[in-house]
């Protein structure tokens, strides 16, 4: 019985806990974080159960109040949405466990509103993924964005201005998306995605559909930080508190990428997308520019969080490139990269939070070889995540790039293939630079500094989540064939 209500339960868990946290938080502020962990843990358990159920039973369409679409609103739990819900809820669970000490240090006394907003943001993201209705998607998008702006504004002195810039550009993007939905509504008369998918082939080469598609890609592209709409991202991630960055960076852009998948491959289908102009190729080229630009800018940064933020711009490019290839290998590579990048970025941002917590900074130029003595496990996790980011086998990052490369070869798209290879080298430059500082002795200084350093690891609540995420990268690397087998079944064509 529980299976058929599962899509609603996942979203409702977050609604319930976003109310419970203020109720208990007013009584005892320190309860907020455990309750938030509990809430996201329940949601993660539901998503894991739901995905296993999907594998045996198939997709679920949940009609709210029993009203069948197109009149009612529905949640669709199919392979794509199940996979994304699973990824974001599990990652959020680990990030929220990790946030305990950082929250106390970076914004003491504000835990209750912070975690309530985090729950609301997760509600928005889960709703965006699960909903089967284009307008409902806009509402969830705004719920996620508005709480996201608030989460980003909690942080350093510059954070509110970064959040304001994100608000202006993000809301403009959301509004353009809404206008695109309006165009589609006027030509099809429905807002339900499945219903509209059936009607759109009749409107092949319609200008209104084409305009709607461009508006939606631009609007969602802002949220996905697709080049050249990425301007808000580096400042937002750098100045927000470490735990906000760790929560939003792995999840936020992925959910926007999910909407692009849903729109381009499911709603329109690749033929209608490319009917008037080769839009999917244009999006792919933008993604390529983003990959190279993000990698090059990341090399130029000395602040670790800023470097990771630029690397996010570059990594989201891989996902969107896989989408634009629109063949099974590219699709599987992109989805595998969603999973890998969510874990790698969460792990890396959590490590930058740990270093800020212990050292008070995360400035790469001030890293030295004493770090390997002081933080052996933190640095081991960092090394695994960084090597996976570069894409060396047998870690997870290698396999997603491998399948993307297979996809580009399948389409004989040598430009995209070259970009993947060049950007892997660029990734190596900016991550090995950090590893060199930490693991190699500085010849200008004596060895004294390193041997004097005492072990100074952060507490278990920070160490375990980073360690587990780093280990899971190895596991995913070895289990990639199983995961890709599942992902290839999701491919719609």
């Amino acid at each position: 019985m529980i299976e058929s209500h599962l899509p609603a339960y996942i979203a409702l868990t977050f609604v319930l806990f976003s109310v419970l946290i203020p109720v208990f938080g007013l009584w005892r502020s320190e309860l907020s974080q455990p309750i938030a962990v509990l809430g996201s843990g329940i949601a993660a358990a539901f998503s894991i159960y739901g995905f296993i159920n999907y594998l045996s039973e198939g997709s679920i369409r949940y009609f709210f109040g029993g009203w069948e679409p197109p009149i009612g609103i529905e949640f669709v739990y199919d392979g794509l949405s199940g996979f994304f819900v699973l990824v974001i809820n599990v990652v959020a669970f680990f990030v929220l466990i990790h946030s305990h000490h950082i929250a106390k240090r970076e914004f003491p006394g504000k835990e209750m509103p912070y975690y309530a907003l985090a729950m609301l943001m997760m509600l928005g993201f889960n709703g965006m993924i699960l909903t089967g209705d284009l307008f409902n998607l806009y509402v969830f998008l705004e719920i996620a964005s508005l709480s996201g702006y608030a989460l980003i504004a909690i942080g350093e002195k510059q954070a509110p201005y970064a959040a304001f810039r994100y608000l202006i550009i993000g809301t403009a993007g959301g509004t353009l998306y809404l206008l695109g939905v309006g165009f589609l509504y006027t030509v099809t008369g429905t807002l339900n995605i499945i219903d509209m998918t059936a009607m759109l082939p009749m409107l092949y080469e319609s200008n209104a559909v084409f305009a709607a598609l461009i508006l939606m890609i631009v609007g969602i592209g802002v949220k996905a930080a697709l080049f050249p709409m990425h301007g808000w991202l580096p400042d937002s991630y750098t100045y927000s508190s470490s735990t906000s960055a760790a929560l939003i960076a792995p999840i936020g852009t992925k959910v926007a990428a999910y909407i692009l998948f849903r729109i381009i491959l499911w709603l329109f289908g690749i033929e209608i997308t490319d009917a008037i102009a080769p839009l999917s190729y244009i999006v792919g080229v933008l993604a390529c520019i983003g990959i190279l630009y993000g990698s090059i800018m990341a090399i130029a940064q000395t602040e670790m969080k800023r470097m990771l933020a630029y690397s996010s711009v570059s990594q989201i490019g891989y996902i969107i490139m896989g989408l634009s290839l629109a063949n099974p290998w590219g699709f599987a590579g992109a989805l595998l990269h969603v999973l890998n990048h969510a874990i790698m970025k969460a792990c890396l941002f959590m490590i930058s939070g740990q270093l800020r917590y212990k050292e008070g900074h995360s400035d790469i130029s001030r890293f030295d070889d004493s770090f390997r003595k002081k933080y052996p496990w933190t640095m081991a996790s960092f090394t695994i995540a960084a090597i996976s980011m570069i894409g060396l086998p047998p870690l997870a990052g290698f396999f997603s790039k491998w399948y993307l490369v297979l996809g580009t070869i399948d389409n004989s798209n040598w430009l995209f293939l070259g970009v993947i290879l060049v950007s892997s080298l660029l990734n190596a430059v900016y991550f090995f630079r950090v590893l060199e500082k930490v693991y190699m002795m500085n010849p200008d200084k004596g060895q004294k500094e390193a041997s004097d350093a005492k072990r100074n690891e952060p507490s278990a609540s920070m160490l375990w989540p980073t360690g587990i995420l780093a280990l899971s990268l190895i596991v995913i690397g070895f289990a990639n064939a199983v995961i890709v087998g599942i992902l290839l079944n999701i491919f719609p064509l």
Binding site: Y138, E142, L146, A150, A153, P160, L167, I168, T175, G182
Partner: protein, 122 residues
């Protein structure tokens, strides 16, 4: 040609508002003016939805005993209006968050001018 312009006057008005809103967001230096531009942009989309719901010789969507329900052409389309109620609420919430952030920015930097702000940030 004239008919094309006059017949779609509501849409031309919407496009004008959309352009004013985008101009405000992109070119105004004062953050409050940017926020106003954002509000105009959102309202232009709201008006677009409201105008697609209108029909000639149709009445409001309240059940009239003289007009049977199955003659849907006699009633306006109620769906865009209900959607826009939600969109207006979203817009109000966005403005609320925007002004909160502006207050936080002003308390920290004592200016809302973008150029001065960027100078002070460095």
């Amino acid at each position: 040609m004239i008919d094309f312009f006059l017949g779609h006057y509501a849409y031309w008005f919407t496009i004008l508002l959309l352009c004013i809103g985008l101009y405000g967001i992109l070119f105004k230096k004062n953050l409050i003016k940017k926020t106003i531009g954002l509000a105009i942009l959102q309202i232009s989309v709201v008006l677009y939805f409201v105008s697609i719901a209108s029909k000639w010789d149709a009445t409001v969507t309240v059940l009239n005993p003289d007009i049977p329900v199955d003659q849907v052409a006699n009633y306006l389309n109620p769906l865009p209006h209900t959607l826009m109620l939600t969109a207006i609420v979203v817009g109000v919430a966005t403005l609320g968050v925007a002004f909160t952030l502006l207050i936080a920015i002003y308390n920290r930097y004592e200016t809302l001018d973008e150029e001065e702000l960027i100078e002070k940030l460095q």
